[in-house]
Symmetry: C2
Subunit: 113 residues, 2 copies
DNA sequence: CCGGATCCGAAAAGATACTG
DNA sequence: CAGTATCTTTTCGGATCCGG
């Protein structure tokens, strides 16, 4: 038991989506189903390990679906579930804020460290 | 240089806000200025250390402002800047999602571990 | 090759005792 | 009161290995 998260819904949401990569993964899946390595290319800085872990967490939460096509070589596709598409709005406002943020002098500085 | 964050604005936003507590802190500051220990009470699970660190990061990003009143005992107040109030929309959609999330069977399970 | 799993050192988060 | 210093614990990234 991770204590009383129930107190605040923002905390509940951030516990699931708060990582550095999770919303980013979702944002790329909004375009449609993607394979594991396609996501890796979309997110060059993520490690294989974290991509696996975050995909699993999102899957466990019912936000994305994992489909294995037993071809050779194997193909694994990830896509948003209907529930996962609820995140569209979050991604949209986050993107909007990010665009603004990248214009700020703070951002320039934060890149150099 | 943390590499090419410039590629995606969602990534930029999540680098700043993606932590578990930061948006939560912001959400409480939307109500108005608050003191350090008031925020601690609002967010019972956060450690002193992380509250300090996250407040500093948000301050450095220009989203919140720290004001010291040299009384005895000293009083330190945090409030959102105008820029910080841009986060209102993000908090709102995150809260909405969190409310939904807390209704899901997944959430119940995720609490027990 | 693709999609991982595993192991390890590094970094971040957490607990908490202490201080101006 | 509002932190800092210090120590412990957890998480993360990178390299490597593996089954199909």
């Amino acid at each position: 038991m991770k204590e009383n998260i129930s107190g605040c819904s923002v905390e509940a949401a951030m516990s699931l989506l708060g990582g550095r990569w999770r919303l980013l993964i979702v944002s790329y899946l909004l375009d449609g189903p993607k394979r594991f390595n396609a996501l890796r290319r979309d997110i060059p800085n993520i490690s294989q390990r974290m991509l696996t872990l975050d995909l699993r967490a999102l899957e466990e939460a019912g936000l994305i679906e994992r489909t294995i096509y037993p071809e050779v070589p194997v193909r694994v596709e990830y896509c948003l579930t209907l529930d996962g598409q609820r995140l569209q709005k979050i991604v949209a406002v986050m993107k909007e804020f990010g665009l603004w943020l990248k214009e700020q002098p703070y951002f320039e500085k934060s890149m150099n460290k």
